[in-house]
Symmetry: C2
Subunit: 492 residues, 2 copies
């Protein structure tokens, strides 16, 4: 185990692809672009879901469920939305198959053609706003604070496990408000929730900002984003929150009577994160030995590996191991006691390293005679022999926190080191080529310049950072005036 | 609120349809046959999911996720499966839309036709067994105990909210085993899990049994079912667990080397429950005033309604109410304090009755002066004035258990009363017509007789009960010998 993994230096992209498969997270399916999320990978996603779901509920949201299918005509109702989403998508045209006359399998029944084609949802603004129309009459019906956990489909031509797949899992929040201010406040609140989740759970620091016109969500007035930096110096957009203004309310004619009894269109936000976060988690921390999982999202936080010869020794070790397991579990820590007799310890070490278990406890006969155990950290590979006492569980609990903080700090230091301010387009190209990472530079605010930079360097504006200080400067390309630096990077 | 509801006697079917919508559980969407599950309904489904998910994990299962789409050809691989599932389904034929030349909206791009059509999964045996092929080489890879929470689509012509919808939510377990015995054991274990869930959580008694040949899952050797009785005397199949033998392993060529090193096909089970359980929950207990929710699955278990005049009184009542709320929440009880000033108490009473909240606490100024509160049970409408003391939270906690047990007992008594043994076909028809419910009768075991009964009476064999005693008898229709009674009913 672990041995066959291509190193990051050798081929970062290959390293990622291999790691996802070898660590049993996901694999490609028989359906082009659709993945199978394996139990170990899904267990991480479930932990992410549980934390996010609680954060959504703590901020007043409820879950609901809307149809998988959207009538084709709905996409034409919001002018900019149709170009963004109704193109590369899965189209249902028929509702029945029949046996072939020649007896060779089945075929689409031409008599079962739908009057109007249905699109497998790429995102649900249209069907949801069509529904909200019936839910909203007066300001008393507002706000609506709803989230949906669902699968969506976007027919991507080039796919990569977790990062870009035809079908993916996500949550999409869709809220309706009486005022512009409240909708905008909600939009910002949710990008804050995403930042908190990314940093405190995935242990990945993110830059919050707004998207430029060209990168904005199709149908939004403003898109807020969190941008993370991966170890290869490329950015990963990790979550977005959109201020939709009254665009969807107008498209679906959703009006409400306000406190003054006057009719107005409803204000909206939508926001989402997806299984793409799995990609962020994998790429931000892992190394050439395999996954490095943040303890808060690790399905197995501690693995105990016994070292023994024969049944008797195993029984002795197992007793101590099971006791420690119980003590750890009492603290809410998830523990695997790996007492398989089909594998040697070395194999197990490599396997759990590959799978990113934060803490490994080794228990051998000699250790137990000395009253000690060996503890190995996945993040630093540091090993330490400690006494096995009633405080051991607490020691490990603290160690898990230490690891969580350490990998965040490591990712933050990396990002700091890989963030460069540049003042000329030449320097920009050199840094991009030789160092990579985030680049802060002045831009004149036009789509033309953005396009030119993208065409010439493949770098895009990741966001206009919320915390960018006002600073007089000139666009590195055109020399036109600019009041703040924006964040550039090559991106996934 | 509550007033507009058609009574059960008047029109049971109409009562159900109205109740689902008026209680804010679900509604029809703009897409034929697909429903919107509203926040209140979804909150119940989430509670069901949480309990079931824990039961699955406690019995050793993990969750995973498989693709939404299945290549058409996969359905032809298991001979009986194709007839059962590959007929009425949503077929994806294209992967792109384009703008129409006349500028009037969008149309399917004929250049983006898929080489092989994709079917939106009606159930996932085929895609999963195609995947398991790569996961299984040796007996060491077994068992595989996987569950998936997912949406599925079956193109039903006549749909009803929760009971029969084109898209529905469910879980589907798919397990792989080295031996026939183990797979069968798993199949039985899961129908036991379903029975426990139905009876202890939904508070609906169920009959466990096996399906007759004609009602068996397409591709199974044996289908186990749990059958519940609704208040209109019709049965609702509430969960099934299938022993698949080696059928799917053979169809997808999934072999493993056993301990003796010999190759054999893998043994399988699959099992599922769906949002149909919401239909069971609604229909089994509710009355002409609205929903009656079992406390264990109620999103709001206790509602507190203040009676007051003016801000000062409200402040006084609120203090006591918030304190009780806190005490109840400390016991894990979910509480809504309904202090809306836009509605009168009578309106609130009717609304929470309609929504099935098990316990209502009324707090008025006069009560508080006397140191009492009024407690109303949703299941019996019984009202009681009790002293408000430090034991009140415990009193309510016990009351919730009492209600849970009472509605189960009520449903059980109803079923007992509505279960009839008959010995002649004439009696069968009379009972079916005049009394309805479950009928236990002898049957000769042939498909012909089953068909005849169905054609003439619309009753079907719900199951061959697992606990049916051996009993010599003769088929009520043909007079041929029969060794046990089977369970008949009209069914949803």
């Amino acid at each position: 185990m672990g041995k066959g993994l291509t190193s990051r230096n050798e081929d970062y992209s290959q390293w990622y692809n291999e790691l996802v498969v070898k660590a049993d997270l996901a694999e490609n399916s028989a359906v082009r672009g659709c993945m199978v999320i394996k139990p170990y990978g899904y267990a991480i996603w479930e932990k992410m879901q549980a934390v996010l779901d609680k954060m959504f509920k703590d901020t007043g949201h409820s879950n609901a469920y809307f149809p998988l299918f959207i009538p084709k005509s709905f996409f034409s109702k919001e002018a900019s939305h149709v170009d963004g989403f109704a193109k590369e998508c899965a189209v249902v045209t028929h509702y029945r198959l029949r046996n072939r006359e020649d007896g060779k399998g089945i075929e689409v029944d031409p008599n079962a053609k739908l009057e109007e084609e249905l699109i497998v949802r790429p995102t649900s603004e249209t069907i949801i706003w069509n529904t909200y129309k019936n839910w909203i009459q007066s300001y008393r019906d507002l706000p609506i604070l709803v989230n949906q956990w669902a699968n969506v489909v976007r027919w991507e031509m080039r796919t990569r496990l977790f990062l870009r797949t035809a079908e993916f899992l996500w949550q999409e929040g869709h809220t309706a408000h009486a005022t512009r201010e409240e909708a905008l406040e909600e939009t910002k609140q949710m990008i804050d929730v995403y930042k908190e989740f990314a940093e405190n759970y995935i242990a990945v620091p993110v830059i919050q900002g707004t998207k430029s016109d060209s990168e904005r969500f199709a149908g939004a007035l403003e898109t807020f984003t969190i941008e993370a930096l991966m170890q290869d110096g490329k950015a990963l957009q990790s979550g977005t929150s959109h201020f939709l203004g009254q665009n969807f309310a107008k498209a679906f004619d959703v009006k409400f009577s306000n406190k003054e009894g006057k009719l107005d269109y409803v204000w909206a936000s939508s926001w989402g994160v997806s299984t793409r976060l799995m990609g962020a988690l994998i790429m931000a921390h892992s190394d050439d030995q395999g996954l490095v999982l943040p303890p808060k999202l690790a399905p197995i936080q501690v693995v105990i590996v016994p070292i023994y010869k024969g049944e008797d020794q195993l029984a002795t070790v197992s007793e101590k191991a099971e006791q420690l397991k119980k003590e750890l579990e009492a603290k809410g820590i998830s523990v695997k006691y790996d007492n398989r007799d089909t594998q040697k310890p070395g194999f197990k070490f490599a396997e759990w390293e590959l799978k990113g278990v934060p803490v490994r406890v080794t228990m051998g006969m000699r250790d137990l005679e000395n009253g000690t155990i060996e503890i190995a950290r996945r993040d630093t590979f540091e090993k330490k022999t400690i006494e096995l006492t009633e405080n051991t569980a607490e020691y490990i609990e603290t160690l898990l926190d230490t690891i969580q903080n350490n990998i965040f700090k490591k990712a933050l230091d990396f990002r700091t080191e890989k963030t460069t301010k540049v003042d000329s387009y030449e320097e920009f190209k050199t840094v991009l080529e030789e160092k990579g990472g985030f680049i802060l530079a002045h831009w004149d605010g036009t789509e033309e310049t953005e396009e030119k930079i993208k065409a010439e360097t493949k770098a895009t504006i990741r966001c206009i950072p919320l915390d960018a200080p006002e600073e007089n400067g000139v666009c590195m390309v055109t020399g036109k005036p600019s009041s703040k630096r924006v964040l550039f990077a090559k991106a996934y």
